[in-house]
């Protein structure tokens, strides 16, 4: 017993006072990309960025702006586009805050990223101080799952925000989906969603759950969960950093700055 107490003392206090104190991320962490379509004019290697992207997240003829756009919902953060761009029109800023409320907000055309907004008032009043989530992995590679699970460890200590992952959808206020939704998990996700009582929230974590990620276009998957559940929060990344996920969850509850 004495060993346990000594170990406990030596291991120390590890929980970060987030969000008042901000996490330090490694220098090579890419984070939020920023684009400047104005720099694309007369580009000598026009199309190199598009060709460098393995998942078609970049276009030079965006239907709205007509110029460069980058879809954060597809982006795998491999940074090959930035490496291919001779003009510096695409650069990664190291900012871990990426989560958005609208799918459309994830398409960057040079505007600042519109981060996630709080839930509508009636659901916010219910969930602001207590949100119980059921997680469904539907074709996920276990990276998003692990970095969601890690929020329960004492570094992040998700429980202090009143957010908890529960075992049954019957106990849940919402469903957090990872993976591109394999055909073989469609029914599993549908049933889990149906079993969660209304009102409820749906959260898509990772490029796969938002757009299919590397599996976009595969007939064995569903290009993400948006066609199956009404998503309230999109957390981009492959896999998103745990701080990105936590920041998104807190913003959804209107506590992004205060915790």
């Amino acid at each position: 017993m004495i060993q346990h107490i000594i170990a406990r003392l030596r291991q120390g206090h590890r929980t970060l006072a987030f969000p008042q104190r901000q996490p330090e991320l490694p220098d090579r962490y890419p984070g939020r990309p920023e684009i400047n379509p104005a720099l694309c004019a007369d580009c000598e290697t026009r199309g190199a960025c598009v060709a460098a992207c393995p998942v078609g997240a970049i276009t030079l003829a965006d239907p709205q702006s007509g110029g460069l756009s980058l879809d954060l919902g597809r982006c795998l953060f491999c940074t090959q586009c930035a490496a291919a761009c001779p003009r510096g029109a695409i650069r990664f800023t190291g900012d871990y805050r990426l989560a958005a409320s609208r799918r459309e907000a994830l398409v960057l055309r040079g505007q600042p990223l519109e981060l996630a907004r709080p839930l509508p008032p009636e659901r916010l009043a219910l969930f602001r101080n207590s949100l119980k989530l059921r997680q469904v992995s539907a074709g996920g590679c276990n990276a998003c799952e692990l970095d969601t699970n890690v929020l329960g460890t004492l570094v992040f200590d998700l429980g202090r925000f009143g957010i908890q992952f529960v075992a049954s959808p019957r106990h849940a206020d919402g469903v957090l989906v990872t993976g591109p939704v394999s055909q073989n998990m469609r029914l599993g996700l549908e049933k889990t969603w149906a079993a969660a009582p209304s009102p409820r929230v749906a959260i898509a974590v990772g490029a796969c759950a938002i757009s299919g990620g590397p599996y976009a276009g595969h007939s064995e998957a569903s290009d993400g969960c948006a066609g199956l559940v009404p998503v309230d929060l999109f957390v981009p990344g492959c896999a998103p950093h745990p701080w990105t996920i936590l920041d998104g969850l807190l913003r959804l509850l209107g506590r992004g700055e205060t915790g």
């Binding site: 962490y29 590679c141 890690v150 460890t153 394999s182 073989n184 590397p214 007939s219």
Partner: protein, 496 residues
């Protein structure tokens, strides 16, 4: 052939199916292991391929036979073929005659050519039944009670005792092998990094070794060492996480919470090297996506020196707490004979006194120059699997400290990336990597134009799920969580 070597397909013996089966059975009798068994099209004809690993000699053998419509099943005499043969039957419709339990593996909706198939729906199979008085079945999943991938488990019980656990997966199937055919395409590396996201370095290394073997590319020494460092960091993170999860499942919270945090520290070391906690973008064909200079290596080494004693303290608490040890010991035992018959790999095999480790037996890259001792244990139970992880943490830390301190001197001049040219046509390459779960086997076959005619992935979980089923025999359902954690297998790596 050797690990990470390419050979022309025409140099592979092409035997009649019956002779092929005899050869494979003979080899397995003489201590070879079936690393892979699969079908692939060669010149418009479907062929069976067997990749046999002779661990003691460090030699791989490839054999082939025309697949035809059916061939005599290997499984009755060679249980380690059982899942491979089910896969061949499900994917290509080639029947292994006399297979005792021919059931679906992944319930795919498409065949390898992309055509829709009318197989059974997921979860619909002739499952085993527990009949008679006191016999009953308990089915759980696909959706489980935690943040975990989906799979279906059926406990066949007599009273409190589990007679057998039937495991039916396929829920994570996303068609990777089908998508790889005709490649490598721009998504190749992304597929490899997400075959099993917790084994990004292991699978990406195996894949890149194949491309390098097929294109005759020499990877700079600095990159080889960088890859090995990343592989061992991946092992540290996952072993620490698994030991923490085992502690959690026996209700021992100190170790569980300490190791939960420490696992994150190991992941952050990988992130220091490449920006991603899972090592995305670190391993690239021809080398690594980043350089590794002495200041960065020193920063990681210093972090490791600070965290590792805390990790050991947390792990040693397990062994000094009698209630934990008594829960681990004699739970979920697998005999050495069963481990060999089922062809278990990695931690699960070494815990049954089967001394195999790709880093020792088929060393390539940095492991050819730096020996890592193989950790084994004898009892084959949860305690043994935990103990092997404990030993491997120690060995990996030693390797890391040494290599982070002494980076190859040439790294500054020869760089971290060599060009990868066109792949040799009509060739086969086999690449083995000792991932943290065990042997990762990738087999690439090229066609006349140097594109992939087939790309076969064997995650260690593919061999080891049967080990978990064996471990549950004569246990109780309440033993399942710690047995499951002690194997810690991948669903997506199995389902592909």
């Amino acid at each position: 052939m050797r690990n990470a070597q390419a050979i022309p397909i025409r140099s592979i013996p092409l035997l009649p199916a019956e002779e092929f089966c005899v050869e494979v059975l003979e080899a397995v009798l003489h201590e070879a292991r079936l690393s892979a068994l699969f079908c692939a099209p060669v010149d418009g004809e479907l062929r069976l391929f067997a990749i046999l690993a002779e661990d003691r000699l460090g030699v791989l053998h490839a054999l082939s036979a025309p697949a035809g419509q059916a061939y005599p099943s290997l499984t009755p005499d060679c249980p380690q073929a059982h899942l491979f043969e089910r896969e061949i039957w499900e994917t290509w419709g080639v029947t292994p005659l006399g297979h005792p339990w021919l059931k679906p593996v992944r319930f795919p909706a498409r065949d390898p050519l992309g055509r829709e198939v009318l197989g059974p729906e997921i979860g619909q199979a002739r499952f085993m039944e527990a009949l008679g008085e006191g016999g009953h079945e308990v089915a759980v999943g696909p959706v489980h009670a935690g943040i975990i991938e989906p799979g279906h488990f059926r406990f066949l019980c007599h009273g409190e005792d589990v007679l057998h656990l039937e495991i039916s997966l396929g829920y994570q199937h996303r068609g990777i092998e089908r998508a790889l055919t005709g490649g490598p395409d721009p998504r190749f590396l992304q597929y490899m990094q997400t075959l099993a996201g917790d084994t990004t370095i292991g699978h990406a290394t195996a894949a890149c070794q194949n491309l390098e073997a097929l294109s005759g590319c020499d990877v700079p020494a600095g990159a080889l060492v960088f890859r090995a460092i990343a592989l061992e960091l991946e092992r540290l993170a996952n072993h620490a996480g698994d030991l923490g999860a085992l502690a959690m499942d026996v209700g021992f919270l100190p170790t569980s919470s300490f190791l939960g945090r420490i696992r994150g520290d190991f992941l952050n070391m990988t992130a220091k090297l490449c920006g991603s906690r899972f090592g995305r973008g670190l391993v690239k064909p021809g080398g690594t996506g980043f350089d590794l200079g002495q200041p960065r290596a020193e920063a990681v080494r210093a972090h490791l020196a600070q965290v590792f004693p805390q990790c050991m303290e947390a792990v040693e608490l397990l062994w000094s707490t009698p209630s934990v040890v008594s829960r681990f010991e004699r739970t979920g035992s697998v005999s050495r004979v069963d481990a060999l018959a089922l062809g278990l790999v990695g931690v699960a095999a070494r815990a049954c006194d089967v001394e195999i480790d790709v880093r020792q037996d088929f060393p390539v890259g940095a492991f050819a120059f730096s020996h890592i001792p193989v950790a084994v244990s004898q009892t084959g139970d949860v305690a043994a699997r935990a103990f092997v992880r404990h030993m491997e943490l120690l060995h990996s830390e030693k390797f890391l400290t040494e290599h982070l301190t002494h980076l190859p001197a040439c790294a500054n001049t020869c760089g971290f990336q060599a060009g990868v040219g066109n792949l040799a046509p009509n060739s086969l390459a086999v690449s083995l990597v000792e991932g943290w779960r065990g042997e990762i086997c990738h087999v690439a076959l090229t066609d006349a134009t140097g594109r992939f005619a087939a790309y076969k992935v064997v995650d260690p979980s593919f061999h080891n799920w049967a080990g978990l089923a064996m471990a549950l025999r004569n246990q109780q359902i309440s033993d399942f969580p710690i047995c499951n954690k002690s194997f810690s297998l991948s669903y997506c790596g199995h389902d592909l």
